[in-house]
Amino acid sequence: MTLLSLPAVAEPAADGQGRRRVTLLSGFLGSGKTTLLRRELDRDTGRPPAVIVNDFGRTMVDDVLLTVDGERPVVLSGGCACCTRRDDLAQALAGLLDAEQRGRAPRREHVVIETSGLSDPGPIAFTIANDPVLKHHYALARVCVTVDALTGLASLEHHEVALRQLLAADDVLVTKADLVEAEQVEKLVGRLRELNPSARVSVTAAGELLRTTAPTAGARPAPRPVMAAHTNGISTLELVTDDRWDWQAFSIWLSLLLHRHGQDVLRVKGVLDVRDVGPVALNGVQHVVHRPEHLTGTVPPGTRLVFIVRDIDTALLERSFHTFVGLG
């Protein structure tokens, strides 16, 4: 069994009633869901799962990275699968069944749904369990929630939806543990166990398991506070161009943006077509940007960059971006 409870070849995948198992992979923006899923898909269990990816932005940037056996994942973009794209999620799951029954795709015993960073897992789990068709074919196996060791505590404190995700978890996966001191990881794990003592907490780094703490038997989660709508003040900016960008101009712009507004830039990710360099994957959350990754596989030309921001005028942000990149 892997970090996301994907079955190995020798293990039975479907539940006792022959239903396909569903793992819900949730976690706040930038907490490492896609990185973890990529590592899991790279591990050859002999039974690759079907993958459904949900993104808050309309422009999908992770589908290229999550290809299984040459098949791209099913993409639900432009909203959260817990609310605006909930019907689409049900249709996507039904579409997998349809493709299988028509012989267009092999039977997948396991489905991984990667939710958007702003999704509440509760309504998604409800859809799978109560849809009149889906409930006979799918069974929710685990809710796995990633928590960033760098920014996880702050996200839990400031973003209600991060707390909702944590409280829904069967498995909590602390990511990026190699980027902080051991004491900080201990403090985070302690806080996670206080908030959700029924979850198993695993500490990971670069998609590899470091250690696991079992849930506290019989413990009950902390009372849930009353929460406001989870997307207040949050908007997205999607930059899609065929142009090649100058890296120096872009990096100066982004670093100055994060210097001044890092707390309100909840997420930045994308694939950039950099002049004289080629495709580069960029991934950041708040003022933490990970080292860019040079992509060597087949990547569609052009640049796709998505920003999820809070209380920032996206028209001004776009104007600022074009002004700076124009300097290159």
């Binding site: 100058d246 890296w247 120096q248 101009a249 990096s251 100066i252 712009w253 982004l254 670093s255 100055l256 943006l257 210097h259 001044r260 507004h261 950099v274 002049r275 004289d276 360099v277 580069v280 950041g284 940007v289 990970h290 080292r291 860019p292 040079h294 920032i312 005028d313 001004l316 942000l317 104007r319 600022s320 002004t323 700076f324 124009g326 300097l327 290159g328």
Partner: protein
């Protein structure tokens, strides 16, 4: 820290994580371009940026001669905040107008 000059090495920054083929044959090119672009961006705040040519640092200075040595982009922004009475902001319409005067507000 450099054992010869006792200079503190800057933290590894994401902006230094992309290099092109030309950078390997002309290692100073990316550095020159960055210094030139920083000079353009900081000029509306009355600041200059110069490259001493050795080490990872550049020098951010104001028109009265005050100067701060900065290694890496985050240090450049902190230096600019220290030297400029105006708040440095990538979303500042005045800055954007200064950088692209041909574009109407």
């Amino acid at each position: 820290m450099c054992v010869l000059c006792y200079e503190l090495a800057p933290d590894d920054h994401w902006s230094d994580g992309v290099s092109d083929d030309a950078a390997r044959t002309l290692p100073g090119r990316a550095r020159y371009r960055r210094t030139r672009l920083l000079s353009v961006v900081l000029a509306p705040y009355g600041l200059t940026v110069s490259d001493p040519g050795s080490g990872p640092q550049c020098v951010v200075a104001d028109r009265k001669g005050a100067a701060v040595v900065a290694a890496g982009l985050p240090a450049v922004w902190r230096a600019a905040d220290e030297l400029s009475p105006r708040r440095l902001d990538v979303l500042d319409p005045t800055l954007l107008a200064a950088l692209s005067p041909d574009v109407a507000e």
